[in-house]
Structures are given as structure tokens and as C-alpha cells.
Amino acid sequence: MIQPPLTIDAVRCAIQERKTTALALMEDHYERIEKIEKEDEAIGAFLTVCRERALEAADRIDRMAAEGKPLPPLAGVPVAIKDVMSTRGVRTTAASKSLEHYIPPFDCTAVARIEAAGAVVLGKTNCDEFAMGSSNENSAFRPVRNPRALDRVPGGSSGGSAAAVSADMAVAALGSDTGGSIRQPASFCGVVGLMPTYGRVSRYGLIAFASSLDHIGPITKTVKDAARVLGVIAGRDAMDSTSADLPVPNYVAELEKSARGLKLGVAKEYFGEGLDPEVRHAVESAIDKLKSLGCEVVPVSLPHTPYAIPTYYIIATAEASSNLARYDGVRYSYRARGVRSLSEMYRRSRDESFGAEVKRRIMLGTYALSAGYYDAYYLKAQKVRSLLARDFEDAFRKVDAIITPTSPTPAFRLGEKSNDPLAMYLADIYTVTADLAGIPGISIPCGETRDKLPIGLQILGRHFDEATILRVAHAYEQAA
């Protein structure tokens, strides 16, 4: 039997060489999940497990291995899926009471693609309700604990996916990122999180939060694993008209190229007020390490960065207010009982099934789009979004990638920010910019605080240039 921590290639090779089976690995992971989640301080990473579906997938791989056939890239890899991605026949809740009993009749393209590549989907992971949050405390079912420090949040919104990978309950996971929801939890849990370029990965079957900002991407233990998963899920999908019709590079092969000679930008706007001194120190040490690997470090300016959070929270909530109008209690979402009219049914169904943060965002977004305020808020935010995108265009004329901290602080305590929405929003200060500009970003571990809390390094790249940020991340990971 092979022991955790497991990587994708190790799993595939071990099954191919008949040292283990996909079935045995699946059972191991379910046992581990059961054991961890039975403890008093359970992590709470999973909302649903789908044993039958996993069994079928594992069986297919084991039969291929028995016949000596070459195995697909994710063969037998136990994977966790954030519960905002639709899975045919498997409950998909978005961690909302509104969808508590919803069973989708179709599969999300990204999920279908990893399964076609041999992955064994173990279950659906906890997250903030409709992916709205930075701590996973907005789940309608239960908060998630950080496996590296049980009194702390795992980050959000893909907190369950990051925690599952961090605690070896899955080898890899899929998350979604609208303002930092893959990278920030990856940084808090000490794992790798990649948000691809907008349009790189189909969002068909992703429960929509903010359509001009939503991305699907991998959460893994290593940079190479992130490259493997990206290679599988990337590429045009006719079911998502925003997915780009561009060739998909061999991301794993690209990792072998040296990082020597790459120009890395460092922007002072990401090292200002509010940055934890230990995080600053770790990120500066990482930059020195990259210098010693032959990268050239160049100062760049991203002057509109201080405007990113207000821009983001207007655009994201405006889009959310429109996307969440579909939860009306008619077709698949929660319906209130004892109502007398259609309009009362809409209101009470939404009132009773949405959590506080979801209501807050629907209200803010509706306000920003309402007559008399549209120009002052929504249109203004869209214009500032142009300026933020232009900042990156200018910087990427000078550098190949930009290095920043992923989050200004390490994981905070459960309950620490849950009563102050604005303080919670500021946790996304270094991640929302990439979502707004549509550029790719990766968070990789770069050390720990004195209290053993993981710290994340963020690497941002040009549109559709995931290969370069993966290369820099891999070079750092191998040297660190």
C-alpha cells in the first residue's frame, strides 16, 4: 500500500504497476474521512459522499489496469468537488438551505472531464453559501475547521476543498474562485490553489455567483498536480460560450523549463498597511529565493489596487443579485409552507432559505443596480475595473509574472470576523484584483508563522499564460 501524502502521478503509477488498486485507495480515503469527521473536533470538509459513483469509477480504472491498458492522467485519484458544481444524481447544495435537497440531472463539465480522465469523485465539499465568504463560516450546514489549526478558519469560500486536500481526505479537489475563493483557502490550509484565466475552464454546471468573475480551478498538494488537473479541465466547451477556443498547452511538460531569466514584478501596493509582518517576511524571503534561482526582480506599479475591494463588492453583488433571482421555490429550490399567493411564496421561500451574507449581498447588489444609483455605483465600478485591468496590462509589458502575498494574514480564528462584513471583505484584498482583470493566479505554500500557520505566496500571470506561473511556482517549490 502507498502512504499519504499522495500525488497524482504516484497514484496512477502505483495502480498501473499493480502495487495497489483504485478501489483500495478509495476505501482508504473513505475510512480516513469517516475517522476524521467522527472526532469531537471534526473538520467538516464534506457535505455529501457518493460511494456508488466512486466505486464505479474505481472499478473502471482497476479493470483497465488488470488488462494492462495505459491509464488516463488522473487514473484512480480520489478527488473532492466543491458543492457548487453540479453532479448528476448526487445532491448539490451550494451549502445553502435553498438547495438542501437538490439533485442535478446533469454534470458540470469540469467534473465530467476529470472523471473521464480517471478521477474517483469521493464527494462534495463544504463551502460558504453560494461561494459567498472568506472563512467558510457562511455555510448553512456547518463551518469548516482548518486542519492545520482546529480553532481557525480554513479560508473561503472553497474551505472544504482546501481542508480535504490538506488533511489527506482527498489527493486533489476542485474549487471555484470569484474573489479569491481558491487561492485564499489554499494559502490558509498550506496547499496549492490555482485560479486559471477567465475562459480557460468551462463553467457549465457551476452554480453561478458572479458570472463575469467565476472560475473553476484545482486545489492540490503540489504544483505539478495542479498542472495535471488544469490540463484535463482546460479548453473550449460548447456548453459555455465564455470558454475560450484556444489550444491547451502541456502544462506538466512546461514545468521542466527553467525559471532562470524570467522577470518577476513586485508591486509595493501589495506590501502596505495591514500586511502581517510574518507574512511579509515569508514572502520577501521567497522573492529572495526566486532571485537566487536566476529570476530577475523588477519593481512594478499597480496604482489602482486600493480601489479593488469596493469595485469587486459592487460588481460581484450586482451580478449575484441577478443570478440568485432564480431561487424562487418553483422549479428546484426550497419552498416555504403555508403561503397564500405567488408573491408571498417567492418572498418567504427566499427569506427562509438564504443566510445573512447571501441576503446582504443580494440587497447590496440590488441597491447598486436600482434606478438612481446605477451610474454612481455599478457603472462607476465597471470603469474602475477597466483601470485595474489596465494596471496589469502595463505591468505585464515589463514582467512575466507578479509576486504578492496571497492574503494579508494567516488563517484567523473561527468567529473572529463573522460579525463585521467589511473586515471579512478585506481578507480578499490581494486576490480580487486577478478576478477583476481575468488573469490567472496561483497560491503556493511559502513557510509558516511562529504558531505553525501556513503562509501563501501568490503568483499572477498574463491572460492564458498559466504555463509561466506554474513554472515559477514549481521552481520555488522544488528549491524550498
Partner: protein, 112 residues
């Protein structure tokens, strides 16, 4: 105070939310605190800046065309079941809180 309780009631109505009196009071407080922070956007002069609604506007569009023609790359032929088979009536109604086998059932719309 930019947002009053009256505004909250009006916006909740637009959003098909009811909100309890406690929720309304909390909403007045939170929306004011967030919008006060958002006001820092007014420090920027955006007079000649084009609004950005979508990322693909910055790549992939055919700039030689006009209007929505620029996004032709994202279109497809309008044919019945062109990309996948439609859901059966049974599948489509499976998650409905109330259905009669043919239709979704809702409370009466017209009051008399």
C-alpha cells in the same frame, strides 16, 4: 446615513425578500458601512474610461466588426437539441417542490 430603513424596504421588495424588523435594522447598518467604504471610488476621475462588463472584451473579440457581431466566436446555430438532448419532462420536474406530472404547481396568481 445614505441608506434609510425606507430604502431597505424598497430594495428588499425589488429583490423579492421580506426581511424581519431585526434584519432590516442590521441591513441599514451594514449597507451604510459598506457603501461608505465604496465611496472611495469617487476619488478617481473616470470621465474618459470605458466600463468593463466582461473579460472577453479584452481578448478574443473581432474588433473589425460592430456591436454584438464582435462576439460571433461565441455563437452557434440555433437548432433544436443542438448541443445535448433536452431533459425529459420527468427529469425536469424531479426537483420541483410541487408538480402534477406535467406542470410546476404554484399558488394562485390572480386574486379575486
Amino acid at each position: 446615513m445614505k441608506v434609510t430603513e425606507k430604502d431597505v424596504v424598497y430594495v428588499a421588495d425589488l429583490a423579492n425578500l421580506e426581511l424581519t424588523p431585526e434584519e432590516r435594522a442590521g441591513m441599514v447598518r451594514d449597507l451604510n458601512s459598506i457603501l461608505e467604504y465604496v465611496d472611495r471610488l469617487n476619488a478617481l476621475d473616470t470621465t474618459n474610461v470605458e466600463p468593463m462588463a466582461q473579460i472577453p472584451e479584452r481578448f478574443g473579440v473581432d474588433e473589425s466588426r460592430q456591436g454584438s457581431e464582435r462576439f460571433l466566436y461565441a455563437t452557434r446555430d440555433d437548432v433544436v437539441e443542438g448541443l445535448r438532448k433536452s431533459l425529459s419532462q420527468e427529469e425536469a420536474l424531479e426537483n420541483a417542490p410541487d408538480a402534477d406530472g406535467t406542470f410546476f404547481r404554484v399558488p394562485k396568481v390572480i386574486e379575486r
